[in-house]
Subunit: 469 residues, 2 copies
């Protein structure tokens, strides 16, 4: 790594090298996980580069290739798995200056990778009355490029599935890291090579996304005495084809009362809730359906969107997905979380009864290949890595999936196998392995045995840890 | 029945009493069924009344009550079950003069009952870029009131389910048949009392319907060598949450070649097809998905929408739902059809292998309580009533539902049980039983045993048949 040569080759492209600021930009929300916090706390880049255009990105990647500088791309740094943390140092590629919406059509939008999702929606709503199909709970901060590279789904996934479902990304423009970087337009099946690859095999600089009709979504909180009743209701509601919903999230007591301070005036501590976003033309049907299912409507944003102190409540999506955990961490920094999937209510019930308040349940109803499933983001009252592993094992032994959010590699956080297409494309697009090193086990350690039960450790990270110690 | 008094009470409300024209307006598409054709061929009203307003309808129903005149409401008469046929004579209530769109909002539309659905969509598209969630294949003729009173679902039901799903009708205005008819606004749970009640318990005069975003739907015909492969593909396609579709209909060979003349230049006789309507932003994903599943794209309206003679093809929806059968009947008047539901591909396969070309399959993929199911509208090569009953029995014995389209009563065509809420409401809204007599068994014959295997016969119809003979 020749940082002096690299910096000289950047010309007038803005950089930042103040160590404190570089460290800030080297971090994401990895601290959700006590395990990642311990592993990654020392991680920092050497500098931050802030390209303003595709041409700038080409210049940066040519220089990286020439001077062997690792490049870790960053959107808003709202990921939770160290996706955007520079395990081998080098340069952060901060795409915040590339934030323009480039083209809006009635059914699609094209934007630069650094465009912030809520701002994209503001523009498309004004232009064509449409919005992105789904977004993470970090909607007001997250960038479209970061979401595609490091995310999977979110608010809207109950209707549209996830980012990796065919049709949910229409096209990407990427830049490769070669002697002469190529700018490639990616469409069709090739999109899957780049989505959720953490930027390991090409830098996403533009994305074209399908739009859905925009509504002034009504936010509704429904209360239940029993958490399992709230899940039964949520599943049945998700199956109501005539009720247009963007979000359905059951959250078990005492999480809502204990962690959602702004909701306290309409909640009891022993109440479980379902957080809902519904289209205005479906509110009446939702109300009727809710009364049939014995749910109590505790809050409706179309009736009152203020808290007891008369302040406007935060958007309901900022109580869902990873924000549920975030609000918990603000109250109790000892908790952590898991990412799970329960194929049926029976699976969910079994695990819930088994773990009780050690793992207060938080479910996101999602569509997965056309079926409605319970995606879990349960809170875990953390007592150590060993017990956490045991909880994961309990899930797996009972037919429930775990996507481990306490791992920084693509494979260990995901399907525990190599994505051959992603790997093959990395060989073409990043022959020196400079893009986000240490995130794709298959690149560094092709023979790693995922059945070994061993956690993989990136060698470069071990060195960096020794250096810092 | 005092027709003279009735006519005098109508004032200046337009009527028609030329017997040929009255007979025309007394018929729907009952002739799809050889059984209904034999039963109902003699049915005719005494006159047709054509109200121009809610006030006119009130006047007509007050007169009907006073002079004991049966009233059978009619939209465009595109139903197939004799829904709109006056089994006890009296007056047809033709709502064609009440065809105004009353109010358009971004997410809903309110129209008079006689508004033609395609025209409603033209207005809402122009005003707010939105359209009805679904419509029958008779879109260009059918009225919204007729659809609600006598229909169930159609093009769009693969996404939104059916009319009786909560949220798919927002409100109705109806007129009761009493000494002083009441004009009632119906919302919430009460809507289910009126939907698919054939106008037996109130005359629908206005409807408020939710809108979905309008797209320039791309029409695609995909070919398969094996019908079951086309169904496997269709089911998997319906489960692609990221691909926005409005219609998926697998049709078994030789139906497409034999009955869809305008499609012949791109079809082989032994090819089964899937008829698809897809949003423009999902065409690329559909194409990719189709190639993964070994389907051959035979036609795309965004590439060419002309037949071999250079004429514009009819809209693809006029090859689906009841139009498939209609096109068949034009070529071979001896065929008929059934309405079925196959819970899984295995059920469908079993029946298909059992009946083969005696019952060429035609499937409509629909959502039913959140699940994707195979709704069937198979062609039946008719050899008599006895064999038809046997085919129905074969379905039921193998766990497949049949909604018998060869029956004119609500119960026998539907769930073979009384809808208590519909019946209770009829007692309030039509105490003399003048609205569409003979369609609700529970009214005329509360003790009828649906398990008897007997077909119910409306006494008034028997009288009318004797009168005509």
């Amino acid at each position: 790594m020749d940082l002096t040569g690299f910096r000289a080759a950047l010309g007038d492209i803005p950089i930042e090298d103040h160590p404190k600021l570089v460290q800030q930009k080297s971090r994401d929300h990895y601290w959700y996980s006590p395990i990642l916090k311990a592993q990654l706390d020392q991680v920092t880049a050497d500098l931050v580069v802030m390209p303003r255009s595709v041409e700038d990105v080409v210049t940066v990647l040519a220089a990286a290739y020439k001077f062997d500088v690792p490049i870790t791309p960053r959107g808003a740094g709202t990921g939770n798995y160290g996706q955007a943390m520079p395990l081998a140092g080098g340069a952060m590629l901060d795409l915040k200056n590339m934030d323009k919406v480039l083209e809006i059509k009635p059914d699609r939008v094209r934007a630069e990778a650094g465009a912030i999702m809520v701002k994209m929606d503001e523009e498309t709503k004004a232009a064509v009355g449409a919005e992105l199909r789904f977004h993470p709970s970090t909607y007001r901060m997250a960038t479209i490029g970061g979401f595609i590279a490091g995310g999977s789904g979110g608010i809207g996934s109950v209707r549209w599935g996830g980012l990796r479902n065919l049709g949910n990304i229409l096209g990407l423009k990427i830049v490769t890291c070669e002697e002469t970087p190529r700018v490639l337009d990616i469409a069709g099946a090739d999109i899957m090579k780049l989505a959720h690859a953490y930027g390991t095999n090409g830098i996403i600089v533009e994305a074209e996304m399908p739009l859905a009709p925009a509504y002034d979504w009504v936010e509704v909180v429904v209360g239940f005495d029993e958490f399992l009743d709230s899940c039964r209701y949520a599943e049945a509601l998700a199956g109501q084809d005539g009720i247009l919903l963007k979000e359905i999230s059951p959250v078990a007591a005492p999480v809502p009362y204990d962690y959602f301070g702004r909701y306290r005036d309409f909640l009891r501590q022993d109440q479980s809730v379902v957080l809902i976003m519904v289209a205005p033309n479906s509110v009446d049907a939702l109300t009727l359906f809710t009364s049939h299912h014995g749910g109590e409507i505790l809050h409706r944003s179309d009736v009152n969107d203020l808290d007891a102190a008369g302040r406007k409540l935060p958007p309901i999506y900022e109580f869902t997905w990873n924000h549920t955990t975030l609000r918990g961490l603000k109250i109790d920094s000892t908790i952590t979380y898991l990412q799970t999937q329960y194929p049926t209510l029976e699976h969910l019930e079994k695990i819930h009864r088994m773990l009780g308040d050690e793992m207060p349940m938080h479910i996101e109803m999602t569509r997965f290949d056309g079926r409605i499933v319970f995606s879990g983001l349960p809170i875990v009252r953390y007592t150590g890595e060993e017990r956490l592993e045991e909880i994961i094992r309990l899930h797996e032994e009972n037919g429930c999936l775990v996507f481990n959010p306490h791992r920084y590699t693509l494979e260990e956080g995901g399907m525990k196998q190599t994505d051959r297409a992603q790997l093959a494309f990395k060989k073409e697009a990043d022959p020196k392995g400079l893009l986000n090193p240490g995130k794709m086990i298959a690149w560094d350690d092709p023979d790693f045995d995922f059945d070994s039960g061993r956690v993989w450790l990136f060698a470069g990270l071990a060195e960096q840890a020794r250096g810092a110690a």
